[in-house]
């Protein structure tokens, strides 16, 4: 077990708590950097998918995991980002301008939904965001002059200052850079006053307010920020898909995003990434397993969604803290090796809550 002896307050907030973390995260970065050199093109593409999902996951995690606002409509923000980006590029705007514009468009969409969302919470908010995503989907279908409706739009390859990114590995590095920036920004936010204000809103709005947190401002800001990050992911995924149509951003995508943060573990950036690996990787694992299963089973229609659902049910039932929560438990087990008690992570008794006054 590692005991940290801290000698300055900064050691509480620095990025890497100790040398071990620096080593392992360094190793991870090295691994993802050399991955395209050693992996087949197909797997590089799948990894790109996971990375882009992770970007959206981090955006959604800030909203759901940190602020406690549930959104069932984040697929719509991806759509807004994807269509803005594609439309602008198709009309001659350089990629480096179209990408931020996509984020900005999603941010504005986020503000639009955030203003009414401030009056709602829990299941009502989830339904409102779901309705919002349906509206966006219909808008994309009907607004043919811009979105070409069901015909869809081809997505030109991104152009980085005259350098066309046509290969899969180029998009991989682009997405990876974006993910790293987004994760860094998210970590910085979480270790700052705003991040704590978000957690405060999640755990007790009434005391957050009495400590000076402007609920409306923070909820709106985080909705916008979350939407913007998801919009950026949408812009990137358009490039990965090479062709976008309304059915690529349907309700299922929103559900996938929600599952990602829940399965990964609410309230941690790690969770968003692990969730993305899970949601992006499981179909591949199932496809691989298919070859080794008896034909009768492998040929069963709907095997994929069924297994997907089963794994999800099991995770939600037995590991409410998600994959990251499981990892923390395993780590704690070895940290305290002979002394680990089963009850370490048990939720303690809850005390009376103040009546909700609003």
């Amino acid at each position: 077990m590692r005991i940290l002896f801290k000698t300055s307050y900064f050691e509480d907030i620095r990025l890497f708590q100790h040398g071990g973390q620096r080593f392992w995260y360094g190793l991870l970065v090295a691994a993802v950097l050399i991955a395209p050199l050693v992996l087949a093109e197909f797997y590089v593409g799948e990894l790109t998918q996971v990375i882009i999902l992770a970007i959206a996951g981090v955006g959604l995690m800030l909203l759901i995991g940190y602020t406690g606002l549930v959104s069932l409509g984040h697929g719509a923000f991806m759509a807004v980002g994807a269509y803005t980006n594609t439309y602008l590029i198709t009309n001659g705007v350089p990629f480096l301008a179209a990408l931020p514009a996509a984020g900005l468009a999603a941010l504005l969409a986020g503000v639009i939904i955030a203003v009414p969302a401030n009056r709602m919470s829990g299941i009502y908010l989830a339904i409102a965001t779901l309705a919002f995503s349906q509206i966006v989907e219909q808008l994309i279908i009907r607004w043919e002059p811009v979105t070409r409706g069901f015909q869809g739009m081809p997505v030109p390859a991104p152009d980085l200052l005259g350098y066309k990114l046509t290969h899969g590995w180029q998009l991989y590095y682009l997405s990876l850079t974006m993910l790293m920036l987004v994760v860094l920004a998210a970590i910085n936010l979480v270790r700052s006053p705003t991040g704590r204000a978000l957690v405060a809103i999640r755990d007790s709005e009434i005391s957050a307010q009495s400590l000076g947190v402007h609920l409306f401002r923070y909820k709106t800001a985080i909705f916008a920020l979350s939407a913007a990050v998801t919009g950026l992911a949408g812009a990137l995924i358009a490039h990965r898909m090479r062709f976008i149509s309304p059915d690529a951003f349907n309700f299922l995508l929103s559900v996938q995003l929600l599952l990602m943060v829940v399965v990964g573990g609410l309230g941690s950036i790690h969770g968003a990434i692990l969730g993305a690996i899970f949601v992006g990787g499981l179909p591949q694992v199932i496809a691989l397993m298919r070859d080794h299963l008896p034909t009768a089973v492998a040929r069963t229609p709907g095997l994929e969604p069924a297994l997907f659902g089963l794994v999800l049910v099991l995770i939600v039932l037995f590991e409410p803290l998600g994959l990251y929560g499981r990892w923390l438990k395993i780590k704690a087990y070895f940290d305290f090796f002979p002394l680990y008690r089963r009850a370490t992570f048990k939720r303690q008794r809850a005390y009376l809550k103040t009546e909700r006054v609003r």
Partner: protein, 294 residues
């Protein structure tokens, strides 16, 4: 950060008089011995405060004023409207009529989130801590009203953000020392016993550098020993930090031990207002508690 300075002085015993730090937190340094008599200008004043929920007048025409450096207790049976008064001061409820004056300014209709910044911090009857965060994080949220966060700068974690952050952490550590919370510093609230949670909530309120502290039943659910601790702390908060305290409390031993004046309420109306001894011997108060014609 005069709160931090004051605490340091208290701990080290080097009372150098005036603070050399920037005077951001003007924790009022009235002479501790101001006592009950000297009523110069009240810190907070309620004028004919009323609120009705439907047909029920939860607080009915209640007036009181609390002087700087005073410890003011509000007592009364359940449903008397004590917590409602706190919620009115916190601006969670909108008063039906009446006014609230804090430091000479009318706060009857200011936005709720500005209350903490004006210098009023509070605790809740049923502990409203951030359960899934550590003690340290909870206290840091207490500093929120002293921070001016900009999301963009925070995402970049600029040197300015870092400096601010360290300043807040320093202030919080002083409070941790003051209330002996070092043992629990990095633990999550969800794993802490009730008594410790009470202290953490008090600490969180102190982190906001208030001039007025509202304590809603600080001793409820605590054993005798813990209640005595609370009494000492309230004394320290008044004498060493110069913070005025208004508290709601049922434990009359605590009330008479620490408070200068007591307001007794029943059914939203004022029954009596005076020293603890006066209030305890007031026939109307006795009747409200014991019922009938005692």
């Amino acid at each position: 950060m005069s709160l931090a300075d004051t605490i340091t002085e208290t701990i080290t015993g080097t009372s150098t008089g005036t603070s050399t730090g920037t005077s951001t937190g003007p924790a009022a340094r009235t002479a501790p011995a101001a006592g009950s008599g000297a009523h110069t200008s009240p810190l907070i004043e309620a004028r004919k405060l009323s609120i009705s929920f439907g047909g029920i007048r939860a607080v009915d025409d209640v007036s009181f004023s609390v002087a700087k450096g005073e410890i003011f207790a509000i007592v009364g049976p359940n449903g008397a409207g004590k917590s409602t008064i706190f919620n009115l001061i916190s601006r969670i409820y909108e008063p039906t009529s009446g006014r609230l004056i804090f430091e000479g300014e009318d706060i009857t209709s200011v936005a709720p989130h500005t209350i903490a910044r004006r210098g009023i911090a509070r605790t809740f009857q049923n502990i409203e801590l951030f359960e899934h965060a550590t003690v340290l994080d909870n206290l840091l949220i207490g500093r929120h009203c002293r921070a001016r966060p900009s999301i963009l700068a925070e995402m970049l974690f600029t040197p300015g953000v870092r400096r601010e952050e360290l300043r807040h952490r320093e202030a919080v550590e002083e409070v941790i020392d003051f209330l002996h919370l070092a043992n629990y510093r990095d633990q999550r609230i969800s794993g802490l016993p009730y008594g410790v949670r009470k202290v953490v909530e008090l600490a969180r309120a102190l982190c906001a550098e208030p001039r007025l502290l509202l304590l809603d039943e600080p001793a409820s659910g605590l054993n005798t020993e813990e209640t005595e601790d609370v009494a000492f702390w309230i004394d320290d908060i008044k004498n060493d930090l110069g913070i005025t305290v208004v508290m709601i409390e049922h434990d009359m031993s605590l009330v008479s031990a620490v408070s200068d004046r007591v307001l007794a309420l029943n059914n939203g109306r004022t029954l009596a207002l005076g020293t603890p001894a006066q209030v305890q011997s007031n026939p109307a108060v006795i009747e409200a508690y014991l019922g009938g014609d005692a």
